[in-house]
Symmetry: C2
Subunit: 304 residues, 2 copies
Amino acid sequence: MTRPKVDLTIVGSIGIDTIATPTARREEILGGSVSYACAAASFFTQTGMVGVVGTDFPAAFRQVWENMNIDLEGLQVEEGKTFRWSGVYEENMDNRTTLSTDLNVFENFSPELPDDYRDAPYLFLGNIHPALQLHVLEQVRNPKFILIDTMDLWINIDKEDLAKVIGKCHMLTLNESEARLFTGEQTLGKAAKQLLAMGPEYVLIKKGGNGSMLFTRHNVFLLHAYPLDSFEDPTGAGDTFAGGLMGALAASGRCDEDAIREAMLYGTITASFGVEEFSLDRLQRLSREEIEQRTAEFKEMCRI
Amino acid sequence: MTRPKVDLTIVGSIGIDTIATPTARREEILGGSVSYACAAASFFTQTGMVGVVGTDFPAAFRQVWENMNIDLEGLQVEEGKTFRWSGVYEENMDNRTTLSTDLNVFENFSPELPDDYRDAPYLFLGNIHPALQLHVLEQVRNPKFILIDTMDLWINIDKEDLAKVIGKCHMLTLNESEARLFTGEQTLGKAAKQLLAMGPEYVLIKKGGNGSMLFTRHNVFLLHAYPLDSFEDPTGAGDTFAGGLMGALAASGRCDEDAIREAMLYGTITASFGVEEFSLDRLQRLSREEIEQRTAEFKEMCRI
């Protein structure tokens, strides 16, 4: 059997973002879940991107991905404008408000996987409409491990399709407020039990600057975030975390709990670099050696 | 040299609390920082309580402490009423509002340590006026390790005295909002650096349900909270955490970073039991075996 072209396929949104934080503002920068996730995964494994951009998409942005050795065969270019998003962060950077969302070519996105991607053993279904996530699942052949992400919008408007696609995945990730919204449970342990009952073996709850929690039917794994002295922009942190995790997991060739725990460390550390600067600014000049060094430091911070 | 009567002295407030949560309400229950902290420490080491109650203090409350083998030689009984506090918790249990505070005999509290307590190697200065904390420090002889707690009130009205007493202690504990208030720094790493510069070797930042962070001049230790499926009342959780920590540390006879990391585990687990029910209801029928069992389970949850 020949080795597939990519070890990890990632599907998600590509956007051009305008972001204001309490101390800075950037216009028309590269963003989107699949952009952050692929960039993070690219440090660990051969990664293929599935997403859509408009004909206005800057060549320089495409070059950033190419420089990171991300496979772009799954990138669709459609007539029209690329998805735009604009948001502003509050003082403590914990909360943000969306100012505008222009779906543009993303509105009619239908993710089609190149034949080369369909045998990739690892798949990360980024946050898009659950019906589109189902459409991706119909295309893949014998995937070894599928991670699915989602958001409050789909929980609110299409819980049924969402439950259906979650039931076909190995791991679900969502943030703590989404876990509470989805289940109506206040404590995360109870929320995770409900979500595990929908089918996945693992539920990974993201808590932003407070870390993450991995639940299985029998175990819990608790991981802090890496404590940064300063950061510029938390946009895409969850996608960077999940992308780094999936990249490291794909590189390990495993999908057991111990391998996922280790991969969560790499996801955490990759995300800690990502938020240091806007867009992919920090990630595109990050080295694997820097990741390894901070990961070793982080392990010592968590040593009991 | 004879062994001191107690290994750990704890000074703080004693209150009779009326507490409302979204699902329950309790009137006139046993509370106060020194009550929670001594109860937690009593599982690990011989602990002496320094605090004040009024002549109205119920014999049944005193009996709870005696049953837990807490030494009460440092307990003062003054003519008048015991300190009363009343508060209500919001839906998510993260925020609470104080409805009333009646200092009563606590208003003129002057902590006097029995001679037997002055040689105790471990001292926990609970949250009282910094001038009173200084007064305690004048009474102790060659303490090995002193932990100091404080609150936003003293940061706002008497920062100078507070800085003076912190400079004489080995470890400072406060919660994340207090660390930010004290230093004006948003990130906890920067806040901790400022606080360490005031003199203590260790700064322990409490994050409630999100765990705790220990900072030294060279290292950071990150610890999650124990994930509970449900809990009744978070009142006193920080005091229970710190009391359990100091009890376990005193029992170890050490005060190095590794010993503090281990003691933080015990503090976390003792607090996780404490919040399961109101007041000392759960702690007074808790066994050391239950603590050890949950601590072992917790270690596995944090294993990388």
